[in-house]
């Protein structure tokens, strides 16, 4: 669905939905914040933000690098460039116990294979755990990143197989079954405050904590979003439109993408 949209949007447009998603994600990262950067899309957006409005964004990777300033995109979160450009590199025990666990990190920036209406994240299995249809990589650092960071931002491509009514496996808790569940579980960070897709932006309803569509990206219709969402999506009133990428934002996204290993 995304790829079909890709073609459709790219035709006669000066940016792709993927680029819009990256720009929208980068905008969420304030200068000077500490950000624990998950695997994949978040890494691209974080490095775009650092080159735009957030030169002092502190990038923290679960591999142990603190304050990395990579000139090119790493393929993995353990590439040498992350250590070479870091303020300091610590072991993973220290990273999780001294840096993540006490709530020192402002923003946990995560991807998801499945995300449900209460922003719970599945990166473990599609299907049953003991007889999976698709075995995914698993938890990594995500459960504790989602628990301990002051807030969490999720970046995920829109699709009915990705934004689902309820996830097959709760790897990392977003808002559980809704209001009050994070306190009940003793989770100290605020949890997911923003979900960024290639079609728009979602945020938890302040009362119910169900994800609500707050923004459509330029040129995207509400019907497209509903068709790409696995639950009866609620929509904010008024529904805003994401400001389109500026020339500077677009140039930066493309410059950063060109540094990805294996990029054309």
């Amino acid at each position: 669905m995304s790829s079909q949209l890709e073609t459709q949007r790219t035709a006669g447009s000066e940016w792709t939905p993927a680029e819009m998603m990256t720009v929208a994600a980068a905008r969420e990262l304030p200068d000077g914040a500490t950000c624990l950067v998950g695997i994949g899309l978040p890494g691209t957006a974080a490095n775009v933000a650092r080159r735009l409005h957030a030169p002092r964004l502190v990038l923290v990777y679960e591999s142990g690098t603190i304050g990395s300033k990579p000139a090119s995109l790493p393929l993995s979160i353990g590439d040498g460039i992350l250590a070479e450009t870091a303020d300091t590199v610590v072991g993973v025990v220290e990273m999780f116990n001294y840096w993540l666990q006490p709530g020192r990190i402002d923003i946990g920036f995560l991807g998801a294979a499945q995300l449900d209406r209460f922003a719970n994240i599945n990166t473990t299995v599609v299907g049953r755990y003991d007889r999976p249809d698709v075995r995914l990589p698993g938890a990594g650092g995500a459960p504790e990143i989602a628990a301990s960071c002051r807030e969490v931002i999720v970046v995920v491509r829109h699709g009915p197989d990705k934004l689902v009514e309820s996830v097959d496996f709760v790897t990392s808790v977003g808002h559980g079954a809704g209001r009050g569940e994070r306190e009940r579980l003793g989770l100290r960070g605020a949890g997911p405050t923003r979900v960024i897709t290639d079609l728009g932006l979602l945020a938890p309803d302040p009362e119910t904590y169900e994800l609500v569509l707050t923004h459509l990206h330029p040129g995207v219709t509400l019907e497209q979003v509903r068709a790409a969402t696995g639950w009866e999506l609620r929509v904010a009133e008024p529904l805003a439109t994401t400001p389109p990428p500026t020339a500077d934002e677009l140039a930066t996204v493309r410059a950063v993408e060109r540094t990805r290993p294996g990029a054309p």
Partner: protein, 281 residues
């Protein structure tokens, strides 16, 4: 009086510097619990390939981030069980041999003991510290808890707060790759140092492959030093981390990590590649 062998680490006075074949044959037996550690950096590929050539089987493989090396070991049927927290090809996607074993039991079923990184890190730390468990904040609300019996809860005796407990990891053998060893068998590694120190100190025996033997270790910023008396065997294996890398010595072969998806997707093609590139080597 005396020591409780279960709980007290016994190590030789000093590491023996021996060929890799000997280091593996003298430490790893069929059915052992083996951790070949490294967090993307310094993955001990050469040592893992030696395990394959020695046809070790029924292994319990332990690793926070099982990647291509573990995909190879699992795909060749060496592993009975995997203890892990993230099993993927970093930045690329699936590990098809790992998926095939879990989804279809090929070439044999693979038992999983699954944690988060924070949990695995704390389990190694408890093992290194000679404790039976570690206390952490983690897993709350995660479906990992009902599927993993090494995750329980513990109550703070001061505040009454309920926290998470994870059991200690004590591999029979930990194998790591490092940049340097001196003539005495003292080892230095730097760059992303990951969980290697804890994995070595938690293990009953330890093997370290190194890029280079040097007369004296010149201390590096951010380095981890493992004294010779914490290691059983050191083997000099230049390039022993490829296609992973050794910071300051070799580059990560990102193109191979990307290419691995195509090599490993089909069972027969995978086996043929392994015969040609690993077993024949």
């Amino acid at each position: 009086m005396g020591l409780a062998p279960e709980t007290v680490v016994e190590r030789p006075r000093r590491a023996a510097i021996v060929p890799l074949r000997e280091a593996i044959s003298r430490t790893v037996a069929d059915g052992c619990t083996v951790a070949l550690e490294g967090f993307t950096h310094l993955i001990p590929f050469a040592a893992g390939h030696e395990l394959l050539r020695q046809e070790r089987t029924d292994l319990t493989l332990v690793r926070m981030t099982p990647d291509i090396l573990y995909d190879q070991l699992i795909g060749m049927g060496c592993a009975r069980r995997l203890v892990f927290s993230w099993g993927g090809n970093p930045g690329v996607g699936s590990l098809y041999r790992f998926r095939d074993a879990v989804e279809h039991g090929w070439p044999r079923p693979l038992e999983l003991e699954e944690h988060s990184h924070a949990g695995m890190a704390n389990r190694y730390a408890a093992g290194a510290a000679g404790l039976p468990f570690a206390v952490m904040r983690g897993y709350a609300g995660s479906d990992l808890v009902p599927h993993t019996d090494t995750i329980r809860s513990v109550t703070c005796p001061f505040t009454g707060e309920v926290l998470t407990a994870v059991s200690a990891l004590r591999p029979d053998v930990t194998v790591i790759h490092a940049q340097q060893a001196d003539r005495e068998g003292n080892v230095q590694l730097w760059g992303i140092t990951g969980i290697q120190k804890e994995a070595v100190l938690a293990a009953r025996s330890a093997v370290v492959t190194v890029e280079e033997a040097v007369d004296a270790l010149e201390p590096r910023p951010g380095a981890v030093i493992l004294p010779s008396w914490t290691i059983d065997f050191v083997s000099i294996v230049p390039g022993g981390a490829q296609p992973s890398y050794a910071h300051g010595y070799t580059e990560r072969d990102n193109a191979f990590y990307v290419a691995w998806a195509a090599i490993s997707r089909e069972r027969d093609a995978f086996r043929a590649w392994m015969e040609a590139h690993v077993l024949a080597a």
